[in-house]
C-alpha cells in the first residue's frame, strides 16, 4: 500500500478546509503537507492528535491517522497512544487557549516526561473559534468581547513555559516563514523526545497583525534573531547587530568589526543548563530581537522507552508472566 515516494497530495485528505480565508493556519498546513513526504515515514504510521480550537481542526485535513479530541486534552490522549504504540509518529496540534489555558497542565507533564512526540502550538493570542475573547498569550490591556475595559492578566510565554517544564526540544517560528517552519518540522521529527514548536500564527479575523510588528518582511530581520547551532547570535538587515551575553544577561551591540563579532554569543541549543535557553526566551520586543528557531535541543531518555525497558527487565527477571501462576499466587489451599 505504501508508495516508495509520497507526495504532498498523499497527505491531503478529501475534507474541505474550513478555516477563514486568510488564516495563518493554511500556511502551516501547506508546509506540513509539503514536508511530510520528506520525512520518510509511511503515512499509516503518522497520527495527528488535536484538542479544540481553530488549530485543532488540523487532523481532518491530513490524510494520515487523526484524532480530534476534547479541549486541552490532546497531550493526554497522545500519551496513551504513544505508550500503547511507541513506533507511531505522533503529532499534537494545539493552540494558545487549548494548550496554555485549559490544557496547560497536560502540556507541562507531557514535556517533563519527554515522550517522543511533536507538539505544534499555534499561537494567535486570541480565542478564535469562540469568536474573539482574549487568550492566555494576549497582551495586557487587550480589548476583546470579554474584556471591554482591557484584559488585566499578564500573558504567558509558551517557550518559557516549555523550558521551565524541562522540554528537550523547544523552538519558535512564524506561520509565514515557510523555510523556517519546514526546517523546524524536520528537526522536530529527528529529535528523540518531545519536540515543542510554538508557531506565531495570524488570526486575520479576530486579532489581525498580532505579530506584524516583528514578522513583516521589512522589520523581521531587525526584530527577530534566527537561532542556528554553533553560529553567533546575529540579526539585522546585514547581520549588523549581535547579542552579547554576560553576567547581567543579554545586550545588543552593533557589529562593525571582527572584534565586535568575537563578542557576539554563539548559540548552543545543546547547553545542558537550560538557563541559557530560558534567558533567550525572555528576550522580547521592542528592546530585543525575538528569538526564532531552536532554543534548546538536548537528549534525554524518552518516557516510552523507559517504560518499555521496565517491562523488558521484568520479563527478563521473572519470565513471561503465566496467568494461572499469577492467579494461584499467595496462600492457596485445597477444599
Amino acid at each position: 500500500m505504501t508508495k516508495t515516494k509520497l507526495t504532498r497530495q498523499d497527505f491531503t485528505s478529501d475534507q474541505e478546509v474550513r478555516w477563514c480565508p486568510g488564516c495563518g493556519d493554511y500556511a502551516i498546513l501547506a508546509n506540513m503537507q509539503r514536508v511530510m513526504p520528506e520525512l520518510g515515514i509511511p503515512k499509516e504510521n503518522i497520527v495527528f492528535v488535536s484538542g479544540i480550537g481553530c488549530a485543532s481542526r488540523f487532523p481532518y485535513y491530513m490524510d494520515t491517522y487523526g484524532f480530534h479530541t476534547i479541549h486541552g486534552r490532546a497531550p493526554a490522549v497522545a500519551t496513551g497512544l504513544k505508550l500503547s504504540r511507541p513506533e507511531l509518529s505522533v503529532w499534537i496540534v494545539t493552540g494558545d487557549g487549548d494548550g496554555l489555558s485549559i490544557g496547560a497542565n497536560h502540556l507541562i507533564h507531557l514535556l517533563r516526561r519527554n515522550l517522543d512526540v511533536n507538539v505544534l502550538l499555534f499561537n494567535n493570542r486570541i480565542y478564535g473559534l469562540t469568536k474573539g475573547q482574549y487568550s492566555p498569550t494576549s497582551e495586557v490591556g487587550k480589548i476583546t468581547k470579554s474584556t471591554p475595559n482591557g484584559s488585566i492578566d499578564r500573558p504567558i510565554d509558551a517557550v518559557s513555559l516549555a523550558l521551565a517544564s524541562q522540554a528537550t526540544f523547544v523552538a519558535r517560528c512564524f506561520d509565514v516563514d515557510a523555510a523556517g517552519l519546514q526546517s523546524l518540522i524536520k528537526a522536530a521529527n529527528q529529535h528523540n523526545g518531545t519536540s515543542f514548536i510554538e508557531i506565531y500564527q495570524n488570526c486575520n479575523v479576530f486579532n489581525d497583525k498580532a505579530f506584524a510588528h516583528i514578522s513583516d518582511r521589512d522589520v523581521r530581520a531587525d526584530k527577530t534573531v534566527w537561532l542556528e547551532a554553533g553560529k553567533p547570535l546575529l540579526f539585522g538587515n546585514n547581520n549588523d547587530k549581535g547579542l552579547v551575553r554576560d553576567a547581567n544577561g543579554f545586550s545588543v551591540i552593533d557589529v562593525k568589526s571582527a572584534a565586535d563579532l568575537q563578542k557576539v554569543y554563539v548559540h548552543e541549543p545543546r547547553h545542558g543548563d537550560s538557563s541559557y535557553a530560558f534567558q533567550l526566551s525572555q528576550l522580547s520586543y521592542p528592546d530585543f530581537p525575538v528569538p526564532m528557531g531552536i532554543l534548546r535541543q538536548v537528549e534525554q531518555p524518552t518516557y516510552e522507552n523507559c517504560l518499555q525497558e521496565q517491562v523488558d527487565a521484568s520479563i527478563k527477571k521473572n519470565g513471561q508472566g503465566d496467568l494461572q501462576t499469577l492467579l494461584n499466587s499467595g496462600t492457596v489451599w485445597e477444599m
Partner: protein
Amino acid sequence: MSDTAIDEKNVNIRFAGDSGDGMQLMGSLFTDSTAISGNDIFNLTDFPAEIRAPAGTIPGVSGYQLRFADHKIQTPGDNTQVLVAMNPAALKANIQNLVSGGILIYNSDSFTARDLKKAKYLENPLETAELLQYRLFGIPMTELTLQAVKNLELTQSAAKKCKNMLALGIIIWLFSKPVKPIEKWIADKFVKQPLSAEANTLALQAGYSYAEVSELFTEQYTVAHANLTHGHYRKVTGNQALALGCVAAAQLANLPLLFSGYPITPASTVLHDLSQYKNYNVKTFQAEDEISAMCATIGAAYGGSLAATITSGPGLDLKSEALGLAIMTELPMVIIVVQRAGPATGMPTKNEQTDLLAALYGRHGESPLPVLAANKPHDCFYSVLEAFRVAIKYMTPVILLSDGYLATGADAWHLPEIKDLPDLAPIFLTKAEDFTPYQRDPISLARPWVKPGTPGLEHRIGGIEKENGSGNISYDPDNHQQMVDLRKNKIDGVLADLPLPEILGKDQGDVLVISWGSTLGAVATAVEQLQTEGAAISAMHLQYLYPLHNGIKFIAKSFKYILIPELNTGQLWKLLRMEFLLDAVPYNKVTGQPFTVTELVAAMRELLAECEKTYDKHQPLR
C-alpha cells in the same frame, strides 16, 4: 463448649491495635490458617484515614475483622464475638461491636494512665462496670514478648514489635489452628533477616504456650471445615481481584494492557498491584490528573491496546467529559469506579453506593454506556472480564462499579482454570474495500476497531458529531438524530447477551428484594434466613444497571411488594421506577458502613408483616 456467645459454626474475630502494631499482618496470617484448615472466610480491614495518626489515639486504630465458618458465608458478620485489643484506644473504638458474653482479650501492659489518657478514657474501663458483660482476658503481652526474645540481640522497640505474633499465638491456640503454616510464613518472609525470623517465631510460640499452660482459658474452640466446592482456593480482596482481572483480560484478549490512573482512595491499590505485573505485558501510567488518566485510556484504546482506568467518585466527575469522547469515538475501554462516601471529599475510606446515577447519567448529551457492578470481592475478577467482553464486542467504554467495602474486603475465591475463562480476542480490521470508520456490524452495531499503522485505512475520528458511516463531521439534523439513536440502540443491544437476573428463591411470593453491587452478601444472607423461616420472600441481584433487563418488571409483577435496599438515598429505586414504573419500597442507609444482616432482616420482616394485613396493591406502603 458451654458459652452462648461463641458459636462454633461461625466465629467473628476482630484484631485492633495501633496502626504500627501489625494488626493487618496478624489478621491476614490468622485468616490463612483458618482457610488452610478448611473454613470459609470473609474479612474486612479498617485502616485509619490518617497516615500517621498519633500512636495510642482513636484515629490511629487499625482493625482487621475476620469471620470464619463451617459453612459458606457471604458477609463479614454483623458483630464480633472475639475482640483482641492491643491498647485502650483499640478497645474504645471497637467494643460497641462485641456481643454480650463475647471474649475480650487485651494487652494488660498497655492500660497505663498515659495510654488511657491518649484514648480519652476518664476512668480505666477495666475497673468500671462497662465491661462486665464480656469475658475478659488480660494478658501482659508486651512483657511476655520481651521475655520470649530476651536472649536475642534486639533493641527494646524491635522486640516489642513482635507482640502481634505473641497475640497471634494465643488466638491460634484458642481456635485450635495449626502453628506450622505461620512458622513457615515467617521463615519465608524473613529469609534474609534470620534474627527477625527467630524473634517472630519465638513470640508466636510463646503466645501459643502461654494460652496452653496458663489455664487462663478454660476451653478451646473448633470451627469445623466448610463443605465447599472441591478445588483450589485463595483469599482475594476486591481490589486485588480487579488487578488480576485486568491482567487476565489482557491475556485472554492477547493484547498488551495500558492501565492509567491517578492516586485516589480506595482505588489506588489496583494501580500498585498492576505496576508489579509488568512481565504480563502490562504498562501502568500514573497520570497528572484524573482527566489525563481517562484521556490516556482513550489514546491507548485507539492505539489497539486493552485500556482501562480506575478511580473513585471525585475522579469519575473529572473523567466525565472525556467519557463522552470515548462514547462518541466508540472505542473499547473499561472505567472502574471504586465508590466511596461523597459528595466532595466525603469520607474517602468509608463505603457507599452513591455513584450509580453519576455512572449512568453524569455526562452531558445523550451518552449511554454499559454499567455493571461487582458483588463480592472475588466477583471483581469476573466483572472485569465481563466489562471488557462487552467493551470489545460493542466498541464502547464500560463502567464497572465496585466500592470501598469490596475493595478492602476479602473472601475465599475458588480459583478458575484459565481454559474455562472467556476468549476476549478482538478482531482488528486490517483490510477493507470502501472502508469507512463508522461502518457498523449489522447485529452488534459496533464500528470496526482499526489500529493506526494499518496501511490504506487512514482516517480521522473525533468528538464532533459524525456522519453515519463515513465518520465525517456532520451538523445535519437528521444525521444527529440517527446517530444518537444508533449509539443508544447499540448499548441497549448488549441485553441480547444477558440472561434474566437470577432469582434467589421462588419466582413469585410476598416480597421481592432487588439489590445491586456489594450488598449481595448481606441481602442474600438475610433473605435465606427468612426463607428458612418459611417467608415468601425472594431476591434478585442485578449485575447490569445499564442496560436494564426488561424481565425485571415481569418478575416484579409476581410479588406483592418490592424492597430495594441500597447504601444511598434510593438510586436504583428511582431508576426502576423511571424505567419500569415499578412501585417499590426503598430501604436506604448512608452511614459509610455496609448493611448488617440484622437490619436487613428487620426491614424485610416489616414488609412481610404488611403482606399479612389486608393487601391492596393500589395502596402504596409509603
